[in-house]
Amino acid sequence: MSYEFDFADVFAAWPELLQGLVNSLVLSALAMAIGMVVSVAGALGKTSGPKWLVWIIDEYIELIRNTPFLVQIFMIYFGLPTIGLKLSSNGAALLALVVNVAAYGIEIIRAGIESIQKGQIEAGKSLGLRPLQIFRLVILKPAIQAIYPSLTSQFILLMLNTSVCSAIAASELTAVAGDIQSRTFRSFEVYFIVTCMYLGLSVFFWTVFAGIERKFLRQPTTR
């Protein structure tokens, strides 16, 4: 192998990389937060809405799940302005991420809602629990336990998906990598470092989410 590695230029750009990392995290957190609000609304619509609404939500889910995220971004960033809705690249990236994550979030939240059993609530009442206790212990905690694993892995998928937003030049980590690469021509070095940064984020969130689950959401043993 005759290639000479030179990471100096890439390391010199660390403030940019750090900013990109922060931007990616902010974008992920915002998209997840808004996406969850949309998902809860969608899940309520699916579980207790009229038939036509259920149909629309189902078709929305299928449409988003069966088309690439990249095409969804292009549709929002390039397509929407032609019908009068112009968004900045960051705005389009956020909207695309929200639209995308909601198609998965709705089904996750719906599963959480359906995991609540009426008999459990009645059992809580007959044990003399107050309404707030019933909500906290009988409804909220089991529902969160049921959806926590899918919800957290969905967040990591979302975070990794933000890299696709570089295609419309949203200011996140992958776009920063592109900038550094076009300036230094150190393609391998830049993408290697940035890949490691994403892996670091994933490992961080895997660890934190598993820790939270162990500490707060441990299932009572059934044995």
Partner: protein, 216 residues
């Protein structure tokens, strides 16, 4: 800027063959790699289990786009120049190996312990045991998630457009740059992906429900 012609539409629609070919190559490459990863993950050797688990973690913990960039640039370190097609095929195959490996490991692990012990007590060695007892039972469980991942893979091929491979999404971008009719063009492209992926998703879901009913 010029107007969008029927020739442009045909150009976009014809590019779907590259999307399908890339998906097929990546799926086949991923199937070969996935078998190796799944066998390593369920192996009795700790080193193989650790290595394959690390491989899966790396591919599940990094964006597919980064994997494609590295597939494009890493061969250059060894003096091999790769075109976007080879880089995309390589990157997506390695990606698919990790995900299929993890799916198939899960399917192998679902086969009850007693089946392994019974096969061993019949005097079957590793390969006959795998081929005759374990895999035939695991395959049934593995089909729905495998098809589900195939959908992810087909959608993933759209990212090959970013490293310059002209498949469906890239063809649409090329035509859009010339005609600037983004709404029509990307809606058309979305529809093409939808027509390919929706039946696969529906099949996967149906099979999964059938298995759930059978398990009850």
């Amino acid at each position: 800027m010029r107007t969008l012609t029927s020739g442009d539409i045909i150009f976009i629609l014809m590019a779907v063959r590259w999307t399908l070919l890339l998906s097929l190559v990546a799926f086949l490459g991923g199937a070969v790699g996935g078998i190796l990863v799944a066998l390593a993950r369920t192996s009795e050797f700790k080193s193989l289990r650790l290595a394959s688990s690390g491989y899966i973690k790396v591919f599940q913990g990094t964006p597919l786009l980064m994997q494609l960039f590295l597939a494009f640039f890493v061969p250059g370190l060894f003096g091999w120049s790769v075109d976007p097609w080879s880089a995309a095929a390589l990157g997506l195959s390695l990606h698919a190996s990790a995900f299929l490996g993890e799916i198939w490991r899960g399917a192998i692990n679902v086969v009850p312990r007693g089946q392994w012990e019974a096969a061993t007590s019949l005097g079957l060695r590793y390969w006959p045991k795998m081929a005759l007892v374990i895999v035939p039972q695991a395959v049934k469980i593995a089909i729905p998630p495998t098809i589900g991942f195939l959908v992810q893979l087909i959608k993933g091929t759209s990212l090959a457009s970013i490293i310059g491979f002209v498949e469906l999404t890239r063809a649409a971008q090329v035509i859009n740059n010339a005609t600037f009719r983004p709404f029509t063009i990307f809606a058309l492209v979305a529809l093409v992906y939808y027509v390919i992926c929706r039946p696969l998703s529906a099949y996967s879901k149906r099979m999964e429900q059938k298995l759930l009913v059978a398990a009850r």
